[in-house]
């Protein structure tokens, strides 16, 4: 008996999803390579003043220079490091928090689960961006704080997805069997539940990276990151505070970091989409 049937045309076929996933993978790999080999790729040290301020693009400086004469192309290349690091580390923080809460809430759905899920609901209800801004402003400007702020704010969504998976897992025969045989909960969680949520968690993790990269850019753009860290968001912050948005400089100062942010977050989003297609058939 079939519980459900696929209706063709209502969703992309797995093949399309796979292709999109490959495109996303290529985008991510390119950025990761750029971040890793930044010192080789970048023509200058991004913290060094190598030209006159506010230079338009030229042969020496392909994307011109910023307001103190640092090379914008080098900033852009090194920016991949900060943006990707923040994105990935913040997503790991979110993943650890989200998985822990999700598994506990799913495995003990009665009391602990209720309390946990209600707190998740509270976090989901809070106006997100204002909270992010307030937290970032309160904690002060540093890379670590940016990571922590983003990490602790984006775990709530993933934790719900994981909880629902665990809820269905805990009543499977092998889990019930191990419990009847007297195995401790810890063992059942580690042996049976976690391995079967790992794949789902990976999917939500990749999506969280995409979110975290965008949030880092948003925070840095608003001046709530560390403005002296070379990230794509901070390039935009300086472009904004030194008036590049009002001048022709937007073409080489605003557009490139904007595109990089788009590529990074799109790349992770595409991969996440392809993964979810395989992992989470109900989507």
């Amino acid at each position: 008996m079939k519980l459900f049937t696929r209706r063709p045309g209502r969703r992309p076929t797995p093949k399309v999803a796979k292709r999109l996933g490959i495109v996303g993978g290529v985008m991510i790999s390119a950025l990761v390579l750029m971040a890793v080999f930044a010192p080789l790729l970048a023509p200058y040290d991004p913290t060094e003043r190598v030209g006159a301020p506010f230079q338009p693009p030229s042969a020496e400086h392909w994307l011109g220079t910023n307001d103190v004469g640092q090379d914008l192309l080098s900033e852009l290349i090194y920016g991949a490091r900060v943006s990707l690091t923040v994105g990935i580390v913040a997503a790991i923080v979110a993943l650890i928090l989200g998985t822990t809460v999700g598994v506990l809430a799913g495995y003990y759905p009665k009391r602990l689960g209720k309390v946990l899920m209600q707190s998740v609901d509270v976090i989901l209800i809070l106006p997100f961006l204002p909270l992010l801004i307030v937290l970032a402003a309160y904690l002060g400007r540093s890379l670590l704080n940016t990571i922590v702020v983003i990490g602790v704010l984006i775990w709530a969504g993933p934790s719900r997805v994981i909880r629902s998976q665990v809820l269905s897992l805990r009543s499977r025969e092998y889990v019930l069997a191990s419990r009847t045989m007297g195995a401790p909960d810890r063992w059942a969680i580690v042996r049976h539940v976690l391995p079967r949520t790992a794949l789902l968690a990976t999917g939500t993790f990749v999506r969280a990276v995409s979110t975290a990269i965008l949030l880092e850019a948003a925070l840095s753009f608003l001046g709530l990151g560390d403005p002296l860290q070379k990230s794509w968001g901070s390039i935009l912050f300086w472009a904004q505070s030194r008036g590049a948005f009002l001048t022709p400089a937007w073409k080489w100062w605003v557009l490139p970091p904007g595109l990089m942010i788009m590529i990074a977050s799109l790349g992770f989003a595409l991969v996440a989409f392809a993964m979810e297609e395989r992992i989470n058939p109900r989507l």
């Binding site: 103190v68 948005f245 009002l246």
Partner: protein, 561 residues
């Protein structure tokens, strides 16, 4: 999940769209700008010297602009003084000159000031302005606190007036050589017939009918958050203004005001233009820049009361290692005057030209070597008392120019073996660290910090005593905990020096002493730059330290002091 990704995306998209929209109009500027901007234009004598209507931009509402309602010190006070007169008026050099008082005489020790009021001046309502009005105004401000004007007059003990000779005599409690600058050229004179009926000005509600002054402009229309309309006073005692109607439009922010002047919606921007805009605006469709010295300061503070900054060698080495000229060129794009290590702005009459900024990192390194600050572990950072010379340089995040100053300073100090980390914090956090509770008796919680003082402290040169004297009752702005007996003695003596020649010699000497002992590192005095449309009106007067927003900008040349 979806929703949350959407918000930051939306933010970025908005930013990009904003950039794209605004760019269409100005593609030509990259090549054409540049020539008019950097030249030291005060005001051109050619060009339009008359206009029927002039539209000016400000950012932020100023309420009804009477002495008890105007909001900002700049340009609120400046717009207030379009409608009112002070007893003295600053000339183009920023020196007070007789104005409503045609003569100002003082006794030997500068405690009794006798002012002869100009005869035949009338208020906007036609009533005559008399010496009694002047006495009334001063007493009114002393009794009914306004903040600024009450503070200006805090040294006044007694005011008397004589309506037959039209003279006012002001008696001060102590010698105050700068009373003309801080009080006579600052306090507006208000009409007794209007204000006598207002007992508690702080609580009263006003409309523009209260705005009866004697100045060249009368406020005739006001829409909150939208605009002010001033009409010229044809009977003004110094001569009728050259602009018949002044409309001041309120914008929400700088970019709005700049867009308006580019598109010709307004003819002058009363707010300062940031350095990177100067070259872009100049020469574009009749736009010109009035640029000149202003008296705000940018400096680096350190806590000189503790090691290693209590050692003169360290402070001196820091000042030698910081290239103020580079900061002026890079951060301010040349639109600033390099800071004098003796504090006083080079455009002030009492500036000591012998005190010059020095930049010599090699000498700085030698100085630190001699003083025993060696880099014993070879990590590129010197040590003091066994600790590495690694410090936090705090700066307020809201000021992006200062953030760049901090970045450059850290880079320069690395050259002399100091490891500086820039910490960008909220303005309140930064103030609390440098000046806890705005009272120096609370001490200091910082190592190195960016800092800057507003114009009034530089405008009145002897206020430098407040910055460098170690006695908290005199040096109540001594944020660096600096202490030097010679500086203490001289600065205290100069505060009450009534003899002009002796004061001048003393202040020259004090500048040298300050430069030698480095209570702080002076970086720059940023210029004021204002953009105006020369096709509409161009006869602005740039008052040194004050800018173009004053009644002088609109009076005929013959009426200017």
């Amino acid at each position: 999940m979806k929703k949350r990704i959407a918000i930051p995306i939306l933010l970025l998209c908005l930013a990009l769209v904003a950039a794209a929209c605004s760019s269409d109009t100005d593609d030509a500027t990259t090549t054409t700008g540049g020539d008019g901007g950097s030249s030291d234009t005060t005001t051109t004598t050619e060009g339009m010297t008359e206009a029927s209507v002039l539209r000016a931009a400000i950012t932020g509402d100023e309420d009804t602009i009477n002495p008890y309602t105007y909001i900002s010190g700049f340009p609120g006070w400046n717009l207030l003084m379009m409608q009112y007169d002070s007893l003295m008026q600053l000339d183009a050099n920023g020196e007070p000159q007789p104005w409503l008082a045609e003569t100002v005489t003082t006794n030997e020790d500068l405690t009794v000031w006798t002012l002869k009021i100009v005869d035949g001046v009338t208020w906007h309502d036609g009533e005559p302005l008399t010496a009694e009005d002047v006495e009334f105004s001063l007493e009114y401000f002393m009794e009914k606190a306004t903040g600024r004007f009450s503070r200006d007059l805090s040294s006044v003990e007694d005011v008397t007036s004589d309506d037959t000779t039209n003279e006012v005599v002001i008696t001060l409690g102590a010698t105050n050589p700068s009373f003309d600058l801080v009080a006579l050229a600052d306090v507006p004179i208000i009409p007794e017939q209007v204000w006598a009926e207002i007992d508690t000005p702080g609580e009263a509600t006003y409309d523009i009918s209260t705005n009866v002054g004697s100045g060249p402009y009368m406020l005739v229309e006001y829409e909150a958050e939208q605009f002010y309309r001033f009409e010229a006073n044809p009977d003004y005692f110094r001569g009728a203004p050259q602009v018949d109607e002044l409309v001041v439009v309120v914008f929400a922010d700088d970019s709005g005001a700049l867009a308006a002047i580019r598109s010709g919606e307004v003819d002058v921007n009363f707010e300062r233009v940031s350095p990177e805009q100067i070259d872009l605006l100049a020469g574009q469709g009749g736009l010109e820049i009035a640029q000149g010295p202003e008296f705000t300061t940018q400096m680096i503070n350190f806590d000189a009361s503790k090691a290693p900054f209590d050692d003169l060698a360290v402070r001196k080495a820091m000042s030698l290692a910081i290239d103020a000229q580079d900061i002026v060129d890079t951060v301010f794009l040349g639109a600033a005057t390099v800071g004098s290590p003796g504090w006083v702005h080079p455009d002030k009459a009492v500036y000591n030209p012998a005190v010059q900024p020095e930049f010599d990192p090699a000498a700085a390194n030698a100085m630190l070597d001699d003083a025993g600050y060696a880099d014993s572990d070879g990590d590129g950072v010197r040590e003091y008392d066994g600790e590495p010379m690694a410090f936090e340089l705090i700066t307020n995040s809201s000021d992006s120019l200062r953030l760049r100053i901090a970045e450059l300073t850290a880079e320069m100090l690395a050259e002399i073996g100091m490891d500086i980390t820039v910490a960008s914090v909220e303005t309140a956090t930064w103030e609390e660290a440098v000046w806890p509770g705005f009272d120096i008796n609370n001490g200091r919680n910082y190592d190195i910090a960016t800092w800057g003082w507003s114009a009034p402290i530089q405008a009145n040169t002897i206020r430098v005593a407040e910055l460098v004297n170690s006695d908290p009752s005199i040096g109540f702005l001594n944020l660096t905990g600096f202490s030097n007996p010679d500086v203490d003695t001289l600065s205290a003596a100069l505060l009450t020096e009534a003899d002009e020649a002796a004061f001048e010699t003393g202040i020259m000497e004090l500048q040298q002493l300050i430069a030698d002992n480095v209570p702080f590192v002076m970086l720059a005095y940023p210029d004021g730059a204002y953009v105006y449309n020369a096709d509409v009106y161009s006869d602005y007067e740039f008052i040194a330290g004050q800018g173009i927003v004053s009644k002088l900008s609109f009076l005929p040349d013959s009426a200017r002091p």
